[in-house]
């Protein structure tokens, strides 16, 4: 009994630490005063101002565009690379795995500045300009390793005879890949894609160095307010984003639970 209570208390404490900051942030998005120091009455003005703030809305648009595109492209590249690495011999696999780990352990600032120098170097011969394209390329670059590392364990679990059996039964290689391998490794692919999306969403350092004039993501917009104070409009935006993510999660959970119960009924 005591043990049960302790367990409940412990879990409650963990959730409290995780969610208390978010609750405070949501509460203060309705605060009349610009200060986070004290409560000064309820207002919706920050939400109204947010909807009229072109700079923040543009930043939101670029953030989402880069996050969605870079995670999709990185997932595609990462899955192909993972299947390739999985089928190498031992020495080659070691070399490629280390090459994959390098960008993961590299400090952001090094990645950011080296990419910036690379892009500027290229811009001398081509008409590549620092901007949306370079920002997207940079995000794809740091996302790919994470996708590879999420997919590889799933490939290891795969029964290696499965693919051959499919070929024996007359499936062309690409068809076998699509219909046999992909469904098996799908959980890893989805994990990788979500990881890439999240990383892209909140990256500041690499983005700051690889973007150009007129293209900022939310991290850059928020971080640049550091000296003057974060405007409560950002609280309003964070609240809306939190609610959207929460609704999406609920929707996904609801659907999977429905599918599961449907499966059980079949059995």
């Amino acid at each position: 009994m005591v043990k049960k209570l302790l367990q409940k208390f412990y879990v409650g404490l963990i959730f409290f630490f995780l969610y208390a900051p978010i609750v405070v942030l949501i509460v203060f998005s309705f605060n009349n005063s610009k200060s986070r120091g004290h409560w000064d009455g309820f207002t919706l003005k920050w939400y109204l101002e947010l909807l009229q703030d072109r700079q923040i809305l543009m930043a939101l648009y670029y953030t989402l565009a880069v996050a969605i595109l870079s995670s999709l492209i990185a997932t595609f590249l990462g899955v192909i690379a993972a299947i390739g690495i999985h089928n190498l011999n031992k020495l080659q696999r070691k070399i490629f795995l280390n090459l994959t780990y390098l960008p993961v352990v590299n400090p952001d600032i090094v990645t950011g500045i080296s990419l910036m120098i690379l892009f500027i170097f290229f811009s001398q011969f081509t008409n590549l300009k620092l901007g949306f394209l370079t920002l997207l390329l940079a995000h794809i670059t740091f996302n790919v390793p994470y996708v590879i590392l999420s997919v590889l364990p799933k490939l290891k679990q795969l029964n290696s005879n499965l693919y051959e059996a499919a070929l024996d039964l007359g499936a062309p290689p690409f068809y076998a890949l699509r219909k046999v391998i992909l469904p098996e490794i799908l959980p890893g692919v989805i994990t990788g894609a979500i990881l890439a999306f999240t990383l892209s969403l909140d990256d500041f350092v690499v983005s700051f160095f690889t973007t150009g004039s007129g293209v900022s993501n939310l991290s850059i917009a928020i971080y640049s307010m550091a000296r003057r104070g974060i405007n409560p409009k950002i609280n309003a935006l964070s609240t809306l984003m939190f609610i959207v993510v929460l609704l999406l999660l609920l929707l996904v959970n609801y659907r999977t639970s429905k599918e599961n119960s449907a499966k059980e009924n079949l059995i």
Binding site: Y223, R227, R228
Partner: protein
């Protein structure tokens, strides 16, 4: 979906004549001014923000960004000027330059206003909570008083914190004397156990909620904090302090120099400057704009100190290669364990 969203944002009835890329500190302009400017001149403004002079310098130095207007601080303007990173501003295209306070024209970092036009200005001083500090505050030395142990907030900013320490010791805050710098380092290390935290913008919340008794702050923020909590008072210490300016410049290689000058001129219009100063809460270098502000604020010595107080203040200079010694001293002080 995303594409539609993009169109919504960029949706414009007529095609703009030209573009203008502006690079400013975060939350440092009344955004309606940008909209008004776009409508008045039919120029599309792309607006980006940065958080420190150094970040901005790296971006512009990299040469791949085509910013047309940037707003760095005094010592950074001097550095960029030395490194030939700025276009000359044609004052003939800035008729509103006549609106700028005579005191703030031809300052040491840009003697002929060839490269920069003042945007905002202010001082650095001590903000103290009347309920916790009973004695009169008039000197930097109070920040070294053991009485206020763990009730002092310092700025987590190299140039500012070393600068006020040098002032406390009676030296220039642009000193190039290594012995003086070493003394300042010793003083900072001595002070370390008394300091509650080295802060950035969180100083505002901490002071308003009464977490600390004394803090080093910029004058513009002091006005806001005093509004939120009337117990907070600001003073420019008698040893003198830092007087700072943020100025509008045109980075080298700007492709829209005409539009940039139009924008700088527009920002010096007294009505626009008033609107901007009213939103930001910092001090405007344009007297006609100041005259439109709330009379309370105009009389406010925090925002608009007397000339005799300003006379004691120094503007930061670019230290060239000597900044390496400042970097070293700051790092050594930061690494010191209490």
């Amino acid at each position: 979906m995303l594409l539609c969203f993009g169109f919504l944002l960029g949706g414009c009835s007529q095609k703009p004549k030209a573009e203008l890329n502006v690079y400013n500190w975060g939350d440092y302009i009344d955004e309606s001014i940008l909209k008004d400017f776009e409508q008045k001149y039919n120029i599309k403004v792309n607006y980006d923000t940065f958080s420190t002079n150094e970040d901005m310098y790296i971006k512009i130095k990299s040469g791949s960004n085509n910013y047309d207007v940037a707003i760095p601080s005094d010592y950074m303007i001097e550095k960029m000027k030395k490194e030939d990173m700025l276009e000359k501003i044609d004052l003939a295209n800035i008729p509103n330059f006549k609106n700028v306070d005579e005191r703030f024209k031809h300052l040491a970092y840009d003697p002929h206003n060839e490269y920069s036009i003042p945007y905002m200005w202010g001082t650095v001083g001590i903000l103290y909570n009347k309920t916790m500090v009973k004695e009169p505050v008039d000197s930097w030395k109070i920040l070294w008083d053991k009485k206020y142990s763990k009730q002092i907030l310092m700025l987590d900013s190299q140039r500012d914190s070393i600068g006020i320490t040098l002032k406390m010791l009676g030296y220039s805050l642009n000193t190039r004397n290594v012995a003086e710098l070493e003394k300042a380092k010793q003083a900072l290390i001595e002070q370390k156990p008394l300091v509650l935290a080295y802060v950035g913008d969180d100083v505002k919340d901490k002071m308003i909620s009464g977490e600390a008794a004394l803090a080093v702050v910029w004058s513009g923020d002091a006005i806001y904090m005093n509004r939120e909590n009337p117990d907070l008072h600001f003073v420019v210490p008698k040893e003198g302090s830092n007087l700072w300016f943020d100025g509008m410049v045109i980075p080298k290689g700007s492709k829209h120099k005409k539009e940039a000058e139009l924008f700088i001129n527009y920002m010096c219009d007294s009505e626009v400057a008033f609107k901007n100063a009213d939103y930001i809460g910092y001090s405007t270098p344009i007297p006609a704009a100041k005259a439109k502000l709330d009379p309370e604020l105009q009389k406010n010595k925090i925002a608009y100190p007397d000339d005799k107080d300003l006379a004691k203040c120094e503007i930061f200079k670019d230290l060239g290669t000597f900044i390496k010694d400042y970097d070293r001293v700051w790092t050594e002080f930061k690494a010191e364990i209490e």
